[in-house]
């Protein structure tokens, strides 16, 4: 790497590259913040513009856009309870309650700092550990995918606010929704009712908008009719220092979130959404103050955002070393590399080391750019919630329609969004939270594929059980599943005991 240092410095000192990087990050943040327009979409939009650039500029711009896009998703998650990208689903859980309390700046600053830290850690992992981690990615076969999705489903326990039964019902509903369309294995059509639009299944973004955003918009209108006067936001001084001091005392939280993000990123097929949810879940489980989550705990925001930006670096590991994109946006970067005449794969690091190391260092610098832009921006974007509901509600409603249309150019998706959104409004009234539904929708296909493929492989080897219960990575995941399932029970009993003890002392 040392011999490429002059080249890297030269490329990074190029003002054009810096300009492209900043523009890329900014563009990414804007697109990411708009619900329905994802980081993947932003990259695809920019792709044609990069053809006329040289390979370095193209990669630097796209890398910045990817980073900005994933970060940008937190803005709408925090301010209007709608994940701008699927990666920021978990950010809504605590980010939006903070906004309701009139403290969106705290949530935004937390998101910026933890995204920056996560992104940097992910970037360094990408820089130093890629060959090592890539081999690790290959150890994930069908049974491991099955078990990791089972692990994910145990998160329903932390995500179902209040009632476990309602959480389970929601999760099952999400799993059911995920089976619509062509079966991933076997190719049968399911629940399409003869409509070819249903063949493609439900788009995650559309369901996200429906379950997170629509109920919020309707209740915004309701409140206006009833009384009016929502939370008011006044930017306060010293928030950045306050949050920074709080976060710096939580190195374990940040490190754990980043590691979860990187690992999830490396595993192709599990994206930033899974990363941020797993990380949020672990933050809740390891917290001594569990009941504060979901009510505006900045740790929840930090866990989610740190993980999803660390995932960006992780998702590029299998791309650069094996030519396998770790996440949908990485697939677009693969396309960009191919158009530049570069074939990512085992010999990319040796064949194009100048370019790769320039890209990796630019990636790290871009995370710093994102951090700065995020901090500066948090002073301004928070004011959006000061808009009166009669402006905000229609504007958001408009965005939801645009967003759900744009993702696949489909009016059908708009109809689905409205239908499910109204359903979500009423189920929310009955105490169902959207988290488990979305979780089921994300993990359903991963679980199904893993299960079916493992059975096929097991049958061929003559022993299905061996396939599921004998592989080392699978065993670790099974242990984590059991741990995840039983810790709530154990700790609930433990807490009850403490309470009884303290009660008896009081008496």
């Amino acid at each position: 790497m040392l011999e490429t240092l002059p080249v890297i410095l030269d490329a990074l000192a190029n003002p054009v590259h810096i300009l492209f990087m900043v523009l890329g990050v900014m563009g990414g943040i804007v697109v990411g913040a708009l619900p329905g327009l994802t980081a993947t979409m932003a990259l695809a939009l920019l792709l044609p513009f990069t053809f006329s650039m040289n390979a370095e500029s193209a990669l630097i711009t796209l890398g910045g856009l990817y980073i900005g896009g994933i970060y940008g998703g937190c803005i709408s998650a925090i301010l209007i309870n709608t994940p701008g990208t699927p990666s920021s689903i978990a950010t809504t859980f605590d980010g939006y309650p903070l906004t309701r309390q009139g403290k969106p700046d705290q949530a935004l600053v937390t998101a910026a700092i933890s995204s920056g830290i996560g992104g940097l850690l992910g970037g360094f992992a990408l820089l130093y550990l890629t060959p090592l981690l890539a081999e690790w990615a290959l150890r994930f076969g069908p049974p491991e995918y099955f078990w990791i999705s089972m692990l994910g489903l145990t998160m329903i326990a932390s995500l179902s606010a209040g009632s476990m039964l309602k959480g389970l019902i929601g999760g099952a509903f999400g799993l059911l929704l995920s089976t619509i369309g062509i079966a991933p294995i076997g190719g049968e059509t399911r629940y399409t009712f003869g409509s070819s639009a249903m063949l493609a299944g439900l788009e995650l973004i559309v369901v996200l908008i429906a379950f997170f955003c629509i109920p919020e918009v309707i209740s915004m209108v309701e409140k206006q009719v009833e009384a009016g006067g929502a939370a008011h936001f006044k930017p306060q001084k010293g928030v950045i220092r306050f949050i920074f001091n709080r976060l710096i005392r939580k190195p374990v939280l940040l490190a754990r979130s980043a590691i979860i993000g990187i690992i999830t990123g490396i595993i192709p097929g599990a994206g930033g959404n899974v990363a941020s949810l797993l990380s949020y879940d672990s933050a809740v489980r390891f917290s001594r103050n569990r009941s504060s989550f979901g009510k505006g705990n900045i740790d929840g925001v930090a866990a989610s955002e740190c993980a999803n930006n660390a995932e960006v670096g992780g998702s590029l590991v299998p791309l650069l070393s094996l030519g396998i994109p770790g996440a949908p946006p990485a697939a677009v970067i693969l396309g960009a590399l191919m158009m530049q005449g570069i074939q990512p794969g085992p010999d990319l690091f040796t064949g194009h080391s100048d370019l790769v190391y320039t890209f990796l260092w630019a990636f790290i610098v871009a995370n710093v750019v994102m951090l700065i832009l995020g901090l500066v921006g948090s002073r301004f974007v928070g004011r959006i919630i000061n808009l009166p509901p009669y402006i905000l509600a229609p504007a958001i409603a408009f965005l939801t329609v645009i967003g759900s249309y744009a993702i696949r150019n489909s009016l059908f998706d708009v109809a689905v969004m409205i239908g499910l959104g109204i359903l979500a409004y009423f189920t929310k009234k009955f105490g169902f939270s959207p988290g488990p539904v979305v979780l089921g929708l994300i993990l359903g296909p991963i679980a199904e594929k893993g299960l079916a493929q493992s059975i096929l492989l097991g049958q061929a080897q003559g022993n299905i059980w061996m396939m599921f219960f004998s592989r080392p990575v699978s065993l670790v995941l099974i242990a984590l599943c059991l741990l995840s399932l039983f810790t709530p029970l154990v700790s609930a009993r433990f807490q009850r005991k403490i309470r009884q003890d303290s009660d008896s002392v009081d008496k």
Partner: protein, 353 residues
């Protein structure tokens, strides 16, 4: 109150404009298709005068006068997208019109092709087509919203032959060895591939039939996950697209490839035919138009696409990336698709027995 209203409507107006611009970009400018649908009063761009072409006094020959939407029925960044992006600047130059690439992924392409056959056949909506996808989907599923014959092929310009590969350390170096192993252990040799009722699946069934062996096909959702599972040692072998085979050629032994003749980027790999198995396997990529499109319009597009793919620098680029350039015009493409329909019908009937 009134000042407040003015301010309000101004803000909403600005917000709407902002959103509209964004959405137009975000969806690959679908607004353009609306323009062409709504008729001639659509905004006419400056390129029109050039578009008249060399003998452009006849109104028939003035096509195209509006931007053309080029649909990709897959996600951005895939092989179809890469090909379209490669063509886009040349197309715009040759046709004198903007070419707008629009993604409509879903159902392995089925959603996009349903969209295609329901579009107006005015030449302003074309779509990438993949063979065997457009043949196998209507043959194997009931709810598919299009029929193979409905798609008017314009050109077939690129192919990725499908090959069979095993890990380098497996000790298997020839197809005969592999088939012997499959014969000795019926049903226990696993082969990863992309999807069910796809090119990979068909290649698997054909080889099973021709070699009289029984193996286990393990479908993955796309070529990348299949490659990953195979490289991770989860399956004995893999059906791989030529572009992937070229990419991983140092890690794998490629036993045979489904091209008609020796595949240029992999000169040492024998074809199935050379080894005595009368089969070809591959994915062909082309472009199609809605049913009932004017043959004159097809001719204009056919010429543009063929001119592009015949450029030596384009062919060179394709070979480097592990693709095979093809130069089939509309008529040749139609015949090719028809012959494939017959082939696959046979295979699927055998499967049901």
């Amino acid at each position: 109150m009134s000042r407040k209203h003015v301010k309000f409507s101004l803000m909403v107006g600005i917000a709407l404009m902002f959103l509209f611009v964004l959405s137009a970009c975000g969806s690959g400018q679908p607004a353009n298709t609306n323009e062409t649908e709504s008729g001639d009063d659509a905004a006419v761009s400056e390129g029109d005068t050039e578009a008249a072409g060399p003998n452009g006094d006849d109104s028939e020959n003035t096509y195209p006068t509006d931007p053309i939407t080029y649909q990709i029925p897959f996600n951005p960044g895939g092989q179809s997208d890469v090909e379209a992006r490669r063509q886009q600047p040349y197309l715009e130059q040759m046709l004198g019109q903007k070419v707008v690439i629009q993604y409509k992924p879903g159902g392995g392409g089925a959603v996009g092709w349903t969209e295609l056959v329901n579009q107006k056949p005015d030449g302003y909506f074309i779509s990438g087509i993949n063979i065997p996808h457009i043949i196998l989907q209507p043959l194997s599923k009931e709810d598919i919203g299009y029929q193979t014959e409905q798609i008017e092929p314009i050109v077939i310009m690129q192919a990725t032959p499908i090959g069979l590969a095993v890990p380098k350390d497996s000790g298997i170096t020839s197809l005969d060895q592999f088939i012997q192993q499959a014969k000795d252990n019926p049903g226990s040799v696993t082969v990863a591939g992309s999807g069910t009722y796809t090119g990979h699946h068909m290649a698997h069934l054909m080889l099973e039939k021709l070699a009289d062996i029984k193996m286990q096909y393990v479908p993955f959702t796309g070529a990348a996950p299949a490659v990953q599972a195979f490289l991770g040692g989860n399956t004995t072998a893999m059906w791989g697209n030529s572009s992937d085979l070229v990419k991983y050629k140092d890690r794998i032994n490629i036993l045979a490839i489904g091209s008609e003749k020796t595949f240029k980027p992999l000169p040492d790999v024998p074809t199935f035919k050379e080894l005595g198995y009368d089969m070809t396997a591959g994915i062909d990529r082309g472009v199609g138009a809605p049913p009932g499109t004017d043959p004159e319009i097809i001719k204009v597009l056919e010429k543009a696409f063929l001119d592009i793919v015949k450029k030596p620098e384009i062919q060179e680029e394709m070979y480097e990336q592990g693709f095979e350039p093809k130069t089939m015009g509309a008529e040749a493409s139609r015949e090719y698709i028809q012959s494939k329909v017959a082939d696959y019908q046979d295979i699927l009937e055998n499967l049901e027995e």
